[in-house]
Every structure is written in structure tokens, then in C-alpha cells.
Amino acid sequence: MLGLGVGGVAVGMFHLITHAFFKALLFLGAGSVIHGCTEEQDIRNMGGLRRFMPVTFATYACGMLALCGFPLFAGFWSKDAILHAAHGWGVSRGPFYLGAIGALLTAFYMTRQMYYVFFGPQRVTVASVGAAAPAAHAIPAEEIEPVFSPRPGEVCAIADPHESPSVMTRPLVILAVSAVFLGFVGTPAWPWFQSFLAGEAVRFGWDGFGEPGLLSLMFVSSLIVFAGLGVGWWFYGRKPIVRVTDPDALEQLQPGIFHALANRLYVDEFYNATVIRLTRFCSAFAAWLDRWIFGGAVNLVSWLVTGLGWLDAGVDKYVVNGGFDEGCRDVARGGRFFSHLQNGRVQNYLRVIAAALVVLAVLLLWGHRG
């Protein structure tokens, strides 16, 4: 990507191709190592595999050196071409220095990994691979070499690291050969690959190295690689890593930086705290909206309709029906009252008639006199 960015399209492609080979080699090698250690992936639980898996070791070393850009390996030619392009980029020197630092770090961490995995005493234990591992013999803790640091009385076991079958090692060898020699299709002396991309005829000539600054740059980049390898050796190679629990050399030196790096500079945590939390919030908000606003509106309407229904029923029952019932009761009361007038008792009738006669007589008499 750096190559493309600084305008070196052809060299970028070149590195892409060589990278494809040695990175494939490294991953297959890693697979072989993991397989050989019965599915162990933690490099702290490896060590000394050089003796058990020689083919894997040799091929992996080729891949590692190619990746670091060790002189004459594939990565050297392609990486160097990119650095050269970056160095000649008119806009800024920044990418060049970044690339150089990257190369230094690559050499360093690959060296560290090599020492962890292939050098020093063997540290594969059953404790680290699970009790059911097939290639293991149970050994009482007391008989085990102290490098495994078992607790006393604990039954521990050593797994048998073994070389992978040829179906795994053969591709490794093929890729290792490519990792060593593939770079020669794109050297300054014979830039076949670049010419192929540009559609030009390729020509051979040592004067390709004569380009100004190229040789010194190659020298510098080799120095960088050696520096990386040297620093790696300084930290991890001088004395063997003995115990699984030994702290990392870097950790002893700079625990703060080591832990920040071990936690991937907290990038995951950063995403957790920002993007994922925001998404969770949006989701909760959408669900809340559904439940209380949209659903709430529907429920409100349904309550309103139900309320109207009750209101209507209430009006019917107490106002309309109530008025009607009251009217009916009045009529009934009136009827009951008037029914007293004709309750069939002849004495009452005679009494009323007599009273009426008296009133009539009084009125007549009064009127006559007036």
C-alpha cells in the first residue's frame, strides 16, 4: 500500500506478489507448528521446536527472513524497491521513515517469535493443551524437569511435539524456495516483473544498481534489518526462555508499553465504548420508540375509543335511560296516586259524594244569598 501511495505501482505489485508467497509460507508454517504441538497456539508454551520439526523450522526461517527483508531474500528486493520509491517521493519523507521503522519492528518481532517457538527448552505441557491430548505421557510432577514449573504433587505431562507429515511440509518447501528466489525476477539488475507490468521488453544489466542512491539505500535497509534482528537477539536470544511463566523481556523493561500493546492499544475497547455503545443506545431507543411512542399512540387511541364507549354506555345508562326511567316512575307514581280514587271502596265514594254535596250546597246557598 505504501508502494502504491508513493507512486510505485509496479514495485507495490511486486511486493504484493512476493508477500503472497512468504506470508502464505509463514501461515502454513505456523499451522504446521500448531499441529505439531497438538493445537497449541501460545508461543510461550512452545520452545525448542527446532529439534523436533527441522523442516518446519528451516522453511519458517526462510519465510521469516524474507518477511524481514534480509538481503537477497524475496522480501529484500521488493521491500527495498518500495523504500526506494518512498525515498524518491517528492511530497514528503514521512512515508519513507514510517516504512523504515516498520521494517525495523518487523525484523524485531519476527526474531522474538523465532526464539520463542524454535529455540530454548521445550515448554509444551499437557496443562497447556488440555488433558485429552493424544501425544502425551502422564508423568508425576516430581520427575519433570523444573522448566515446566509444575506444582508439587500435581500429575503433569509433556506433549510430544512432532514434525508434520509430508503433505504439510512439501508445500512449505515449495514456498520457501519461492521466498528465497522469487525476488530475483524484480531486482534492479533484471527488473523483469516491473517491465512485464509496464509492457516493456526486459533487459539485463548491472547498471540497474547504478541508479543514484540505490546502493546506499540498500545498505541502509540491510542495516535496519540487521538492527532489528540484533535487537531481537539482544532481548530474547541471549539467554533461553526457560519457563512458561517467565515474563517477556520487553515486559520487564517497559511494563506500561508492553501492556498497552498486549491490549492492542485498547482499540477494541475504544470501539466498544463508542461505536458499539452508540449502536446499543440507538437500538434501545428504537425499541423504546416502538413500545411507548408508536405503540403508545395506538394504545392511547384504543383507550380513547374504549373510554368513549364507556362514556356512551354511561350516558345511556344514567342520562338517557335515567330520564326515561324517571319519567316512567313519575307516570307510575301518578297512576298509583290516582288509583286511590277508584280503589273500589263504596264507603269512600259515598264519603266523597257526601262531601261534594255539602260543598255544592254551601256554594249554592252562598251564591244565592250574594
Binding site: 437500538s283 428504537a286 425499541a287 416502538d290 395506538v298
Partner: protein, 522 residues
Amino acid sequence: MITLLTLLPMVGGLLVLAFYRSRDLARLFAVIFAVGALAIALLFWHGLAPAHPGMQFEETHAWVPSLGMTYHVGVDGLGVLMLVLSAIVVLMSLAASWANEKQSAVYLALVLFLEAGLFGTFTALNFIHWFIFWELSLIPAFFLVRLWGGKARARAAAQFFLYTMVGSVALLLAFLALFLATSAPGRPGSFDFVELAQLAQSGQLAGALAQNLHWFGGSPDHLAMLLFWAAFLGFAVKTPVVPFHTWLPLTYAEAPSETTMLLTGAMSKMGVYGFLRILLPIFPQQMQRAQTPLLWLAVATIVLPAFAAWVQKDLKRTFAYSSINHLGYCVLGVCVAVKFTGTDAGLAAEKAAALTGVLLQIFSHGLTAAALFWFVALLERRSGGLRGIDDFGGLRTIVPVFSGLMGIAIFASLGLPGLNGFPAEFLIFKGAFPLAAWATSISVLGLLMTAVFLLTVIQKVFSGPVNSRWEAMADLTTSERLALLPVIALMFVLGLYPQLITGMVHGTVMQWVMSLNQGMRF
């Protein structure tokens, strides 16, 4: 021919009812009739002339001439697509019910009646005739939810029925107004979709509204807008469009999963069908004028349910929200297609892409969503009704075939290239982006969230630590695998060869685009 198609499941339903004593016989008859219906629907597919615009296989009989009611049926690319989809989904649902003893002969008969309602809705071209089937299809659906649903089935069924009714009533009023507007002295008005569409596109409908209806002193423009929103409400509830969707998660979750297959696979498409058959041809200017709010609704329908789906704890509710989200893409596709900029004939290609995408999405979502709920039904049968996302874990190692096939359906749902969801959503977005860039850009969030919540389902149900409770869970039986196989195969076929559908609907889409571009030009 179309009449025969609609009658077939109805007769089948009655026959199934007659055999209610023997469930074995009943289910056999039900499947035979569903297969027959699918065969006839496929004959329509085969017989349709794709390049021919307009309706085909038409039948017209006078019914109640004085009220403008005719028996008028016919199909175009859209109609055939819906018929085939309905027939497939009904068959899938019956296959899912096959071994479910709780779902008696009456259940199967109701499914067939529902199929008849769907066929009627998707072929009728006269509003009254269409409306009868639109409402008729609700009744079997109501009873399927009400009688065979989960704990809250009574509430769910009532809400589903009433909410849809509210929309339908608004729709009915709008069409009565159109009928009144188009009637002249001595001549009844029109309920005919084709006729109304022609009137609308030639501009006569607006004139008729101005002449015959002047309610509350509103201008004809306002009146036409009012009618549009009333009709819109009917389809917005059915589709559903946010914020008219709240009946859906409850109903989908409470309905038996085999019924949910029908609801999401076929019935939810009635809403989108209404958008395409009624709103787009009859109210193009109104849609164009209301485009901004419509696009907002479409965006809300895509984005909000996608977010809400992530926090659901019930698989069926998750897929229910996912269903709303997927239909949101259809609404988006329809709403962008009405954009008209005056001179931009070049946008015709984009409109065609969006509308073709909508049709693909209708079919593809019907297939995928029905399949997802089928898998939920299979899972429920094995788990004794449990279907919480957190109830499972590590099923991948216990029931690998089930997990694999359901995984394919989930990936189809989230739009993985190669499966049926991808060409549909891709075409919609391809068409929508040049027409309404902002709405499309926001809608992409919905795509992203769909991936998030569907992968969460995979992670929690299929991966992770094995839940020891389900260690004895049985994987799919041979007959279940055989039943699912054609569905999964169809997902791949449509994903790799969408021309199967796009070729069939091409004439219909082009006709829409042309009439849209003409109808806007005044």
C-alpha cells in the same frame, strides 16, 4: 382461468373441512390443492407475454353496473409474481404444518381459504371486487392467530384485525370519493383500477375531483392529497410502514410460526402490491408532491426496525422486525420512482432498476422470511416452544444440518451476494441512490444493522458454548430436509440468476416507468 385459480383453494378448503375427522386425509388434500394452485400459477408465469404491457388473461363480466361494479380480473408481471409467491408460501406453510398435530383439518382449511383470498386480491382489478378479497383474506388470518396462537393470541388477533380495518376503512372512503368524482349524470362512476389509472395519468381525474367534489371548500389539489393519504394509510398499515407497524411484532410472535410464514411471506406483500397497483398508477402526482415525507417514512421503516431487532430477545420478534425492515426497502424503491425532474429521461433507467428491485425484493423476502419462520417452527417443535435468543447456544455442533440450512436462510436475508436477497436490495439501492441520495444513504444503516442483528442470532444460537440442555436435540429428519431443499435451492437460483424474475416483470416495469414519466409531465 383466473377464476378457476381463485376457486381452486376455496373448493379445496371445503373438501378439507369435509374430511375433518381424519387429519391425514385432510393434510393430503390440502397439499394436493396447494400444489394444484402452484401449478396453475406457474402456467400463468409460463403463458405471460413479458414484453406485452398491460393486463393479460383478462375476464370481465357485468356485476352491478349501476354501481360501477364489474367482475374484472387480470394479471400483469406483478400479478403473476404475487400469485406464484403466494402459492409457494402457502405450500411451504402447509409443509411446515404437516407434522404439527395441533393444527387440525380446520386449520388447514383456513390456510386454503386464505390462499383464495390472496389469489382474489392479486387478480381483481375492480376496487369493490378487490376490496372484498382484501377483507376476506383477513378473516382466516384472524382465526388462525386467534385459535392457534400463543399466550397473548387474543390481544394480538384483535389488534391485527382492528388495525388493518382502520386502514381499510380509510381506503374505502377514498375510493368512494373517487367513485363519486368520476360519476356523471346518467353514468355511474368508476371503481376500475385500469380506468382510474388512465384518468389520473391523463389529468382528467383532478378535473373530475374539482368538478364533482368540493368538500369544506378545499381546493382539488388538497382533496386529491387527502384521498391519497387515506388510501396510503390502508397500505401503510398492511405493509407495514413505520409508525403504523406496532401490530406486527406482536402478531408475528403470537401467531403459530406456520401462520407467521403466511403473514410475512404473502400477506405483508398485499401492502406493497397496493402501493404498486393502486397508489403508483392512480396517485402519481400526489406521491410526487408528498415525496419528501414519504421518503422519511421509508427511511424510518428501514432503519428503526433494524435497530429495534437487535435488542429483541425472542427469535420471532427479531425476524418480525427484520421483516418490517425488508419491506421498508420496497417502500423506498416505490417512493423514489415517483421522482420527476422535468427533463430527466435518463432517470428512467434508475426508476426501472428501483422498481425491478422492489419486485425482486417482494419475491425474495417472501421466500426468505417464510423460510426463516419455518426454521423457527422446526426449532420450537424441538425445544418445546422455547425460542428466546439466549435459550440456545452451540446448536451448530448438535444439529449441524439444521444450523447450516437456517444459516443459509439468514445469510439470504442479510443480502449475501449469491443468494436471493442480494440482487433485490442491490437493484433498489442502485436505482434509489441517484434519485434520492440522502434517503438512500441513511437507509444503508439499515443494511448494516441487519447484518449486525442477524449475525448476533447466528452467534448466540448456533455458536458459543453448547447449552447442555439441548444435547439430545434431533437434527432435521430426511423428510424435513427434502421439504426444505427446494426452498434453499430457489434461494441460490434467484441469487445467481435473478433474470428469472426480472425478465418476467420487465414489460410491467417499463410500462410503469413510461406512464410515470408521462403522467408527471403537466
